[in-house]
Each structure stands twice: as C-alpha cells, then as structure tokens.
Symmetry: none
Subunit: 101 residues, 2 copies
Amino acid sequence: MLAGMGRLEIKPEQHAALVDGRPLSLTVRELQLLVTLSEHPQRIMTRDELFAEVWGGRPRSDDRSVDVYVSRLRAKLGEALPEASLIHTHNGIGYRFSPDD
Amino acid sequence: MLAGMGRLEIKPEQHAALVDGRPLSLTVRELQLLVTLSEHPQRIMTRDELFAEVWGGRPRSDDRSVDVYVSRLRAKLGEALPEASLIHTHNGIGYRFSPDD
DNA sequence: GGCACCTGTGAAAATGGTGTGAACGCAGGC
DNA sequence: GCCTGCGTTCACACCATTTTCACAGGTGCC
C-alpha cells in the first residue's frame, strides 16, 4: 500500500479528514487548508492562491498565516502518518500536495 | 479489552444503556442523545444533526441544549466508565462518538 | 399540597483557536 | 564555509466556543 494516501481520506462535506477511518482533530482552518491543497494534487500552489481559497481576499505582503497553518497541519498529519510527507515546500513559490508519498 | 466499548451496550429498544450489564440511570433525552451519537460511530455530527434527531426540527441559533446534554451524558458515562472518553468535541462543528477510546 | 425529578435557559468559568511578531534553522548562491 | 533570504516553529494576546452551574417552570406521584 502507498505510504500516505489510501489511508488518508478527505471528506469536506463531513468536516473531516480520516486516517484509517478515524478523524484527525483538525481545526476548521487546518481542514480548509488541507481540503484546498488536496483538491489540486501535484500542483504547486502559491501562498496567494491558498490564502484566497482559505481566508478569502489577499494576504498582507508579510502575512505568514499560510506557512503557520501548513506547519500545524504537517504536525498533525505527521503524528497520524509518520511515514508520509504529503506537503512539499517549493522555495520561493508555495506548496504542493502529493498524495502518494 | 477495549477501554470503553465492549463494556457499554446500548439497547434503544429496551430504553436502556448498560455498563457491565448494569443500566445507567439516564433520562429520556440523555438516552436519545447517546443512541443517536452511537448510531454513527466515528462520524462528526453537527449540533443541527443531533438536535434534529433528538429534539426534532432546528435549534434556535443560540440554543445550547445539545451542549448541556452532552455535558450531562459525559458526567454519567464518566462515573460508570472513568477510563473512557467516548464523546469528543470538534470545535466549531459538533461532537463525535468513539466507541474504542 | 408537597416532593422528586426532568428540562431548557442564561450566565460565568474554562478551554481552545487564530493570527502576529520574533527567534530559529535550513538551503542555495557565492 | 559564510551570507542571505526564506521557511519553520514558538510564544503570546485576543477572541470565540464550549463546559458547567444554578435556577425556574413543568410533570407526575404520593
């Protein structure tokens, strides 16, 4: 089986992300971010795109919200799926969600 | 054996919830709520869903009945099964029943 | 009536989420 | 290896939500 995905299911309509059928305890923002990333697998998404989808509007030029929430999300995903590295950083650009890593 | 479930049996048709074969003394509302939650294990249920099933209709926007009854239910479950934490809060969304926690 | 219990409400206390600034660490270029 | 810029994480203050308590109205039983 794949290291990460397959065990991870994302169900926005149920307000939940499941690992092996058990919901992660994500906050609303964390879940929104995960949903947004996972809706565009393998695509590099800029901070502006992510901010627009999750927070709406444009981030202040020095806004670090996206980074902070990516960090929080990684921490929780990493606990539930230690082998997987689902969210990749693309330096100077943004982040990419990679289901099968 | 599992910490919580296994020792807990819910018998809606008998209007009873048993721990180690002994009935909890739950009120009608408390039992309805427990039955409803336990019919959807591991699923995050919104207050609206729970209210609809237990009370019927929609709650007033500031109605805290669900919360209060969850609290009362937890108190009684906690007395009978101190180790178990069966009902989990999902902030901003609702509650989740987790049989094997 | 008097009692015991259930129910829903309001309000105070406790808990948890959010965004920000700052410190830290790492990667890539020189 | 050393700089520099960017990304990561931490700590905190503010705000929102949840939990718990106390109470008043209602119901049924004796």
